[in-house]
Amino acid sequence: MTPLLAALFQQHISPPYDPLGMFPPAASHNAGYSDWVFYFIFWICLVVMALVCIATLWFAFRYRRSKVGLMPQESPHHSTTLEIVWSVIPSFFLVAMFWYGFKDYEDRRNIPEDAYEVQVYGQKWNWTFTYPNGYVTDELHVPVRENVCLRIEVLDVLHSVFIPAFRVKMDGVPGRYNWLWFHAIQDGTFPMYCAEYCGQQHSQMDARVIVHPSREDFDKWLAKESDWSTLAPEVAGMKTFRVAGCVACHDLETGSNLTGPTLKGKWGTQSQLADGSSVTFDENYLRESILTPNARLAAGFAPNLMPSNFAQTLTDQKINWLIALIKSKGNAQ
């Protein structure tokens, strides 16, 4: 009865239940429960199917024409009692199936407050995963025994995140975010598929899910992978430029102004300011503009467009990387 109790009290790790070996490993807290609901329905259906088939075969054999002749004996051809019995009794079982399925679904729709959020971005035909620190991978890394929430975003066509070992699936729909969450209980590597048809290489749109054996291990992995101190400064600068969000308003490649001025070819030039004066675009000016954007506004741009909290979010090192990046984008010549 353990799975049943687990079902009633939810939220706790359900023991695996797969007597016929029909499922992939139960690697999430609710996989055991989900499988248990499957088998709950399965056993009932098996009994019904067995009864129907035995009755069919027995009647076919017992009342075969070669034995009973052409004219069968008189027998009733209506029974209100029977009709009520075989409508009402199955109804109770159906309500139970509905209820267990509903509990399971509801649990998976209510994302725990403390869930660790990873953004999933799907497009033809690959997945990318962005962690809270802005680090991006093409495999999903998560810690074991933690609530993890995936925010799914797609731009081109419908996709669907499907991780069989966790019994989770959710469509990615262009124009809206969808969420799913899970709580891995087993470390290891599991496959993730795209389950919504998305064209030519639909079947190639897979990724690996790597569950780290502990939160510490995961944190260490993330810190190490997203540590850019060993990279060339301008490469680390480009990563910072993306992660810190600079990329949304500042162009580095084409020389055109977006919400903010382009940073291509500015290094070392005289920059026009909003108050009519000009300044040399150098380390000091750049640093000042990042930390206190309104101090010396570039000509043609309104104040308060740029976030003013970079003093809190960017370390000295990151600012240096950004300087190295913009320096590498050269000057007007």
Binding site: M22, P24, Y33, S34, F38, I41, C45, M49, C53, T56, F59, A60, Y63, R64, R65, V68, L70, M71, S75, H77, H78, S79, L82, E83, W86, S87, P90, S91, L94, V95, M97, F98, G101, F102, K103, D104, Y105, R108, R109, V157, S160, F162, P164, K169, M170, D171, V173, P174, G175, R176, Y193, C194, A195, Y197, G199, Q200, H202, S203, Q204, D206
Partner: protein
């Protein structure tokens, strides 16, 4: 000896007019029914060809994903071909085979005769439906010529709206749009015919259950089909005029299309299965020589299914991001539809109790449907259960589930029904030996193909995959082997039917002992079905109304009905001066 109730040597509907034009431009529901039937067979062969192609692709994993040594670029053209194959397979089988299969083909042939009528209420509309069907089929064939449709039969945006194969999408949706109208007109025709043209004595509760099923189907066709027409039209409007309906860049919502699409396509599932259930009721009753058990329950359950089927479409979208409340309501209602379906199965089994069970080929198909529909229906419960559906949605479990319902039940019922009414259609008896053998091949092949797919699904294999993890290899291998069995079984079934038409034993008016009115006229019937006034209809399942008679090699009415057309003693009827309007040897 030639049964005197066989009309192949006299004027009948097959030979009363000659030439292909007399067929193409006919108003005779029987000829239209036969043309639908052969059209459906042709399309079934086409859809089957693509099914085999899919199974050949999937027999072994290509290992492109899983083996870095295999160059992806070598696989791309094969992937395109595969995606087109499953799209065409699905679209052809759904729109051109299963939806028209029983209602348009068997329904057209049998319905007016079962009612004791000369034809449907609007014969010209009926012909128009058929011509629309041909046009729709032509549109689908055109999609191959203009590049090939690869959207899946569901046409989901934004894939379909952004597809490079614009012309194919246009022709595909246009085809489905036209076929929709064919379906609507047929449904309309049948509803009016059933309301207005029943034989004297045939009250609503004395209608054969096949008619109840067709009636429920017709209501679905009339009410649900316009919605697919509208949604496909909106899809075209958006693609051409750039009005934002389904694509987010223009301000639309892709999930909106799914709502519209399934508002039709879920009732369409019942458009496919309800007529099959009607055929089942006829087969089980006739071959058990027993009144059908629980007549009213079966009749009412058809209507209940028709009504409930309108309000369950959201179960296709549990994972699209629709609200939990909506999913919950749809899940609950979906479970509700299980009750009337189960009632039918229980009543069919009870009908056999204390019967006289014949194992003629049509009955073998009917008996196997109890298993196949049982599995197909019960596996639907797993998918209606929201939590379990999260894992099973869009996997091979779903593929196996709906093939059990649509092929295992609807196509098997179509074949069973064709065997059952073949003597009436062509006046010749099918070969029992080949019939039973091919049934066995089909039955084994079907189970071998689709039972392993359930497990592939629970193990997590997504559908519409060109390539798969080698962990799923054995399920796919056996599935492909099973498909080979079905191929052989279906080809032999076709040869059996063709052989029957060419040189089958001459059939009497009523070879199986059916009590419904189509058995009260010659095989094949005359142009106007009944040689005199429509017969008086009694209880369609009172088997004491017909007795076996050796000279006829079939059954004859126990006592002459009022206005008995004397079809069983042709010479005597001539002597008695019975007017045979279209009946000159």
């Amino acid at each position: 000896m030639i049964p005197s109730s066989n009309a192949l040597d006299r004027t009948n509907y097959l030979n009363c007019q000659k030439g292909w034009w007399s067929w193409f431009w006919t108003l005779d529901h029987k000829r239209l029914g036969l043309m639908y039937l052969w059209g459906v067979f042709t399309m079934f062969a086409l859809g089957g060809f693509f099914a085999m192609m899919i199974r050949v692709f999937l027999m072994h994993p290509e290992t492109a994903i899983w083996d870095p040594a295999v160059q992806l670029s070598d696989q791309l053209s094969k992937m395109d071909l595969y995606n087109r194959a499953f799209t065409v397979h699905g679209a052809v089988m759904v729109f051109l085979v299963i939806i028209p299969g029983i209602p348009a083909a068997l329904g057209n042939f049998v319905l007016p005769m079962m009612l004791g009528a000369k034809d449907v209420a609007f014969p010209r509309l009926n012909r128009f439906s058929f011509h629309l069907w041909l046009l729709g089929a032509l549109c689908f064939v055109t999609t191959f010529l203009v590049g090939g449709l690869d959207t899946g039969w569901t046409f989901y945006p934004t894939y379909s709206t952004g597809s490079a194969e614009t012309m194919a999408v246009v022709f595909g949706t246009l085809g489905a749009f036209i076929l929709g109208f064919s379906s609507i007109f047929t449904g309309l025709n049948f509803v009016v015919t059933i309301h207005k043209m029943r034989a004297p004595g045939m009250t609503w509760f004395k209608m054969p259950l096949f008619l109840w099923a067709i009636y429920a189907t017709a209501i679905l066709q009339i009410l649900a089909t316009p919605v697919i027409g509208i949604s496909l039209l909106l899809l075209m409007v958006e693609a051409t005029l750039k009005i934002g309906i389904f694509t987010p860049e223009l301000g639309g919502d892709p999930v909106f299309f799914q709502h519209l699409f399934w508002f039709y396509s879920h009732p369409a599932v019942y458009i496919m299965i309800l007529p099959a259930m009607g055929v089942m009721s006829e087969l089980i009753a006739t071959f058990s020589r027993k009144p059908i058990f629980g007549y009213k329950s079966i009749a009412m359950s058809s209507l209940a299914i028709a009504v409930i089927s309108f309000i369950v479409w959201g179960h296709h979208m549990f994972l699209s991001g629709q609200s939990t409340l909506m999913s919950t309501i749809f899940s609950f209602l979906t479970f509700a539809v299980a009750i009337p379906s189960a009632i039918k199965v229980f009543n069919w089994v009870s009908t056999m109790y204390k019967g006289s069970i014949s194992f003629a080929t049509p009955m073998l198909y009917a008996l196997s449907i109890i298993w196949l529909f049982g599995v197909g229906g019960l596996t639907g419960l797993f998918l209606s259960s929201m939590g379990v559906d999260i894992h099973l949605h869009d996997t091979y479990f779903v593929v196996a589930h709906f093939h059990f319902v649509m092929v295992g039940s609807a196509i098997f019922a179509l074949i069973g029904g064709v065997y059952y009414w073949l003597p009436k259609m062509y006046g010749r008896m099918p070969s029992e030996k080949i019939g039973r053998m091919t049934w066995l091949l089909n039955f084994i092949g079907f189970n071998l193909t689709f039972l392993p797919q359930f497990v592939a699904g629970t193990k997590g294999m997504p559908r519409r995959y060109f390539d798969y993890d080698p962990a799923f290899a054995s399920y796919n291998f056996w599935s492909s082997i099973g498909a080979g069995f079905i191929l052989v079984g279906m080809l032999l079934t076709l040869f059996n039917i063709l052989g029957t038409i060419r040189r089958g034993r001459l059939a009497p008016a009523n070879p199986w002992g059916g009590v419904t009115l189509e058995w009260m006229t010659t095989s094949p019937p005359s142009e106007h079905n009944f040689e005199r006034d429509p017969p008086f209809a009694g209880d369609p399942y009172d088997v004491t109304l017909v007795n076996y008679k050796d000279e006829q090699e079939g059954f004859v009415p126990a006592k002459p009905l009022k206005d008995d057309p004397l079809i069983y003693d042709y010479q005597a009827s001539l002597k008695a001066g019975v007017a045979h309007s279209n009946l000159h040897p």
